[in-house]
Amino acid sequence: MRIAVLLSAGRHPVSGAAVLPRLEAQAIRIAAGLGTPVGLHAGPDAAAVADALGQGLSRIAHVALPEGADPVPVLAASLRAMAPDLVLAGRRGQGGDESGIVPYALAAALGLPLIADVVAVAPGEAAGTLRLDQSLGRGALRRVVVRGPVVATVHPDAPAPLAYAFGQARRGVIEPVAAIVPAGPAAAPAAVEERPYRRRPKLVKGAPTGGSAAERLKAATGEAGAAASGRLLVDPDPDEAAREILAYLRGIGVLAPPSPRPNP
């Protein structure tokens, strides 16, 4: 199985040192269990991701890009040329010049499905299929079987990264790959405002303010709360499923209520 792992120049959340993001190290561990993965990095300097060579990769393809250039077109072109069966990426950036949007943009550019938040990947029973376990949070998992190729992002609940082995790192190779398409223009810096992340208190909607601690916990975790009011549809008719989803999205205010007049 051909596997590409997208590597980004991240930063350690505490020390700020240039490190391989933990999620990508976890992605390498998943990939190493399936075959011989190749790392793919687009950026000014491959040294930023060289650590990945000690954590389970033996080869990194590096597309040199000027600082601040959009990596998506060149990554998409490289992936088209590599034609991997599985593309793994972290689910979010880690402090450096990177973004969790990239896998989504790549999946769109390549016309591939994206499976978010996977914690395990195994070959499916039928040839050419993959069985992915998606984390739904709080330990809940959903098993998905897809016919590849597919882009998947890795969730922090995936198995912890492999140890860094200096001896393996010095044997690994970084191969420069010429950009197949010209690098896109640098993203307009003024368009996005950057602010340091601030943790905000989370409001649990509809949680009872009074009552005992046990009652509040029950309300927040299910049984009597919002989680218990959901309905489970097994193998529904697609039209019915779509109606249910729309009704739910309207119910929580994501979509506007249906207009009284149907559109012409």
């Binding site: 350690h12 020390s15 040192a17 140890a163 082995a165 200096f166």
Partner: protein, 632 residues
């Protein structure tokens, strides 16, 4: 036989034949040592020092077991003397002297007495720590040679002859040739390999009165990092493992063995021997507790470590690097060096660190602290204390190295006590603050030499920017790294343990403690202070200056038992039947002392973590502060 060749020639001829056989056996063995890597050995110096190393250094260790010491002196002395004297009797003037044969008789009789002492350790019941197997026939061979020799020499001395002589000579020949045959892979190998090992010892410094305990830096450009197979060890290390006499003193001292973790230092060394030599007789000592039998390929190029190889990885990661086995080994074998060499290959080439150790080592590499904590938070413990940063001043009389313990709330109390004592004594002290990275001790003991060297170079570069006359630290692990291991990376510092500095301040009259006679205390020696650096007196002198009632544990000083906190053992967390700190606290409880005095953050954490503790855990600095403040 005696008709065509006189017995006075045949008997010495037997000893010469024994010597020839032993030489052949040694040569066959030496072919195995030659597969090892090259090592620089100062042969002339080593051989010249051999008698002194044997009579002083080896005897110092052997004499801890008085019976074994007497036994060995009698049997080895007798064997050497009797054999040499008999061999010299090949000279006709000696052969013709009855008085000379009487002397030979006495020497053989002494050997016979020694052989009985050897046998008494094994028959009728073998002492538990000794190995059986070929070692069980050793007293029989010794006794046959000695008794046969005594009778033969006696008859030559008396001028008697006749029918008995062929039988006594035959008995001596059976025993003597048997002993010589055992030089290759039997018990007698320890004599030859041990003597060569003393001359070619990889750490000659330990015979010259300094603790030669620093791990050798690994050349990170070498084709293979660490030891994967027996041939990766240097030849004199292979020789040293062959000198093992399977006495089992190491396994009695080993904390992991006592805790029922799958490590037995004797078995480990014997596995290295058996890994090198596929024809080695089966191991017949105590096994790895809860471990499995040795399996897999053997030979100089066979993989040593693996779930399916000779040594299970759990055995390797159980070691706390406390050096208790090295301290007790009468053959001067360096077990910890072997463990670290094997760990280096596992960590650097195989990425096979224990699962739970990967996180701390990764954080150490990426953030300079095994907990991944902000370096600036290291001084949080000192909130409200006057503890200046050296960056603001550029120099200080004493640089206080805080170490990893500073992040720990419990150990923060100790460091606060230390800082208050230093302030009270008017010491000009400063800290590096956020510039202090971990010394890398954890990474180095776990075999990740690359991370250690990166941290060492970074710390040496930081320290080079400031002027200070001494580094003081309360962490013996940091002390060992800074004092003994950083010189290889260009950092030469005078490093003092806090207990030594506190003693200095008391003696200089800068700290005036009152006495606390109501407290009874027992002092637990940290391995990295006592065994690695030979410092056992300063902490005791401080405790005595406070006037505490001090009692010693059965194992103290350089022979103290480890708390279980070294060598990455807490993060590797190999399961055992018991916990090492529980065992140590039980030993402390035997003294009846109400306080266990400690002088190391690891010991503090390990011992304080013992449930149902009867004694309090207090650092020497905390006790001293209490005594100093009692005077106000």
């Amino acid at each position: 036989m005696t008709s065509f060749m006189p017995l006075t020639t045949v008997f010495p001829g037997l000893v010469w034949a024994m010597a020839a056989l032993a030489l052949v056996q040694v040569a066959r063995r030496a072919a195995l040592w030659r597969v090892g890597a090259a090592a620089p050995v100062a042969w002339l110096h080593g051989l010249a020092q051999l008698p002194r190393r044997y009579l002083v250094d080896v005897h110092h260790v052997v004499a801890r077991d008085a019976y074994a010491s007497r036994m060995h002196a009698v049997v080895a002395g007798g064997l050497l003397a009797a054999s040499l004297l008999t061999a010299l009797a090949i000279l006709p003037p000696l052969a013709g002297s009855r008085a000379y044969w009487l002397l030979v008789t006495v020497a053989f009789a002494v050997t016979a007495a020694g052989s009985v002492l050897v046998g008494a350790r094994r028959y009728p019941v073998k002492q538990k720590r000794l190995s059986a197997g070929r070692f069980q026939i050793l007293p029989v061979l010794l006794l046959a040679y000695a008794v046969g020799g005594t009778l033969t020499a006696l008859m030559l001395a008396l001028g008697a002859g006749g029918i008995a002589l062929p039988f006594t000579l035959g008995l001596a020949a059976a025993g003597g040739l048997g002993l010589a045959f055992e030089v290759r892979q039997g018990p007698m190998r320890h004599a030859v390999a041990g003597a060569l090992h003393l001359a070619a010892h990889p750490r000659p410094g330990r015979f010259e009165g300094r603790p030669d305990t620093a791990l050798r830096p690994l050349d990170l450009g070498a084709p293979r990092l660490g030891a994967e197979m027996p041939a990766d060890f240097t030849w004199n290390r292979l020789l040293s493992y062959d000198s093992c006499v399977s006495c089992g003193r190491c396994e009695i001292a080993c904390p992991a063995f006592a805790a029922g973790q799958p490590l037995n230092p004797k078995r480990l060394i014997q596995d290295l021997v058996a890994g090198l030599n596929p024809a080695e007789p089966a191991y017949a000592g105590n096994p790895y507790p809860g471990g499995r039998e040795g399996q897999g390929e053997r030979g100089p190029l066979a993989r040593l470590i693996g779930p399916d190889a000779r040594i299970h990885p759990d055995t390797l990661w159980s070691c706390t690097t406390c050096r208790a086995c090295v301290e007790e080994c009468p053959m001067m074998i360096e077990h910890v060096d072997a463990v670290v060499s094997l760990r280096r290959y596992q960590a650097l080439e195989r990425a096979a660190l224990p699962e739970k150790a990967i996180g701390p080592v990764t954080e150490l590499r990426q953030a300079g602290d095994p907990g991944g904590r902000p370096l600036a938070a290291r001084t949080d413990f000192a909130a409200g204390l006057d503890l200046p940063l050296i960056a603001g001043r550029g120099e200080a009389e004493i640089l206080l190295w805080l170490g990893e313990g500073a992040y720990d709330l419990r150990y923060g109390r100790t460091l606060r006590a230390l800082v208050r004592l230093l302030r009270r004594a008017g010491v000009d002290v400063a800290v590096l603050g956020a510039e202090e990275r971990d010394t890398g001790d954890l990474a180095r003991r776990l075999g990740d030499e690359a991370t250690f060297q990166a941290l060492a170079r970074a710390n040496v570069a930081t320290l080079a920017r400031y002027r200070f006359s001494r580094i003081v630290t309360a962490d013996p692990h940091a002390l060992h790294a800074l004092r003994n291991e950083y010189p290889a990376f260009g950092g030469h510092y005078t490093v003092v343990h806090h207990t030594a500095l506190l003693l200095e301040l008391i003696r200089a009259g800068k700290l005036v403690p009152q006495t606390l006679p109501d407290l009874s205390v027992t002092y637990h020696d940290p391995c990295y202070l006592a065994r690695y650096n030979g410092e056992t007196e300063a902490p005791r002198a401080v405790l005595d200056a406070i006037g505490l009632a001090r009692v010693e544990m059965a194992r103290s000083g350089k022979r103290a038992m480890c708390c279980g906190g070294g060598g990455g053992a807490p993060v590797s967390d190999v399961p055992g039947e018991r916990r090492i700190p529980d065992l140590r606290m039980a030993q402390a409880a035997e003294t009846g002392a109400g306080i266990v005095a400690v002088a190391c953050p690891s010991c503090t954490a390990m011992l304080e973590g013992v449930t149902d503790r009867k004694a309090e855990i207090r650092d020497v600095a905390e006790l001293l502060l209490q005594a100093v403040e009692a005077g106000r």
